[in-house]
């Protein structure tokens, strides 16, 4: 038997992908957003409880260029974008590959709403024009499950999850994750920005008070049930970031995952001062798969897991 050497992508799709990436670069060029390249291999990595980095050469393959791009911004870089590979351990599926292409960009002086607007313009360019709905996490869950997830007891949320076939653990955050993944899967609108997430999932975004409730000023763009983009009104307070990393690490230890050492260079850059900005990351393979009508991202990748 000969080894499987052929790429997953066919030559025609390869051309179509290249044309879309070219259009994306032109989109940013026209807006004076410059392209940058930052390391794929870094000494530090993110502390997200549910993102596992791949270790390499004493450091980590980056799960997103966020830390490096923020250090550029703190040092005076203008609004910038990057298209490059990122890595997440163990994520394999129709819409996941351990290595995938990410498009990430930062806009100085933008807030989350302005960046949502620009994100929709980029997505229109790639997928064609469409209307966008914006809905809060709380309203989305209320529409789907008829409960206020921020005020409902964990027991009744567990019951709803079980009714929907959930067989996992019953930690509060985990149940919300499950219900959210169910809600977006069955979203009626074609393109939806979900906003105002629970503050526990703020990561590197600011939090904001909405109707007396502290929520993360983050958004996710869902296109036909698939998460395409994740954006933040960026957190500027390094002290707050250090506290969040500490909290992540407590949860990681509870889940028997290795704790992550905070990146002293990022914290130093934030202490020096990150300009007010908003940033967003787009799963480029997913976006291209949607544009080309493919159900599995493998079909738009050259050598996905198993061939790489």
């Amino acid at each position: 038997m000969t080894a499987e050497w052929r790429p997953a992508i066919d030559p025609q799709t390869l051309r179509e992908r290249a044309a879309l990436v070219w259009q994306i670069r032109e989109f940013f060029h026209n807006r004076q957003v410059i392209e940058v390249h930052t390391p794929i291999l870094g000494s530090h990595t993110v502390s997200d409880v549910h993102v596992e980095s791949i270790r390499a050469n004493g450091g980590f393959l980056q799960t997103s260029p966020e830390y490096f791009m923020k250090r550029l911004l703190a040092a005076g870089a203008p609004s910038c974008y990057q298209i490059g590979p990122v890595f997440r351990k163990g994520e394999i599926g129709k819409r996941h590959n351990p290595e995938f292409a990410m498009l990430e960009w930062y806009r100085l002086g933008y807030d989350a709403e302005q960046l949502r607007c620009e994100t929709s313009e980029l997505v229109n360019l790639v997928l064609g024009e469409c209307s966008y709905q914006t809905i809060s996490f709380q309203s989305l869950m209320r529409e789907r499950f008829h409960v206020d997830v921020f005020h409902e007891s964990n027991d009744s949320l567990s019951d709803i999850a079980t009714e929907h076939g959930y067989q996992g653990g019953f930690g509060e955050q985990e149940i919300l994750d499950f219900l959210y993944s169910e809600a977006i899967r069955q979203c009626d609108a074609e393109r939806v920005f979900v906003v105002n997430f629970p503050q526990e999932s703020a990561a590197l975004s600011r939090t904001v008070s909405v109707d007396g409730l502290e929520v993360a000023d983050r958004f996710e763009l869902i296109v036909t049930g698939v998460e395409i983009a994740n954006g933040y009104y960026e957190l500027l307070d390094g002290g707050e970031l250090a506290r969040r990393i500490e909290m992540d690490n407590r949860k990681r230890v509870e889940l028997a995952r290795p704790p992550i050492e905070p990146d002293p260079r990022l914290l130093a850059a934030m202490k020096h001062g990150l300009p007010s900005c908003a940033g967003v990351a787009v799963g480029l393979d997913r976006l291209i798969a949607l544009a080309l009508g493919r159900d599995n991202i493998r079909e738009v990748m050259t050598f996905p897991d198993g061939l790489a």
Binding site: H50, G90, E91, I92, Q167, G168, F178, S181, I184, S201
Partner: protein, 191 residues
Amino acid sequence: MPSYSTNEFRSGLKVMLEGEPCAILEAEFVKPGKGQAFTRAKFRNLLTGRVWDRTLRSGESLQSADVVELEMEYLYTDGTEWHFMRMDDTYDQVSANAAVVGDAKRWLMEQNKCTVTLWEDKPISVVPPNFVDLEVKDTEPNIRGDTVAGGAKPATLSTGVTIRVPLFINVGEVVRVDTRTGEYVSRSKDP
């Protein structure tokens, strides 16, 4: 029994879910942006045939189900149990009740080779061969000259099942039937 982690899930795998043996139909890795990774899977309950949608935490495991499919020879029925024999050199016999044999009983002729699914050595389903040859026990006689193409009439076969057959088929003939559709295929080629 070994167990399977969600990342080993693939179509066809037999696992225990909620105490019952199931076959995995499909499995998908799901991960909301900032959240826990899940595996969303469809399971066919091998006892009831029902399909269950379930979501598990990624990395969790399910016990494998001791389920095997065997080609077995149908021997006889005593009216409450249907008896089958292994076709390997053990000649072991198993018996299945009416609920397990289900619709297959309409087609079972002695010496038929059936696919019997065993869970912990007990039969949980019986699938008859795709085609069986059965003798016509009762049908209206062919009316002379009635050769209209596509004409059909009911006929009762040796197992007691009634199917539609062409008008030219008579009592005593052996017909071939597709057990998946219950439809007449042809006169048997080897009577």
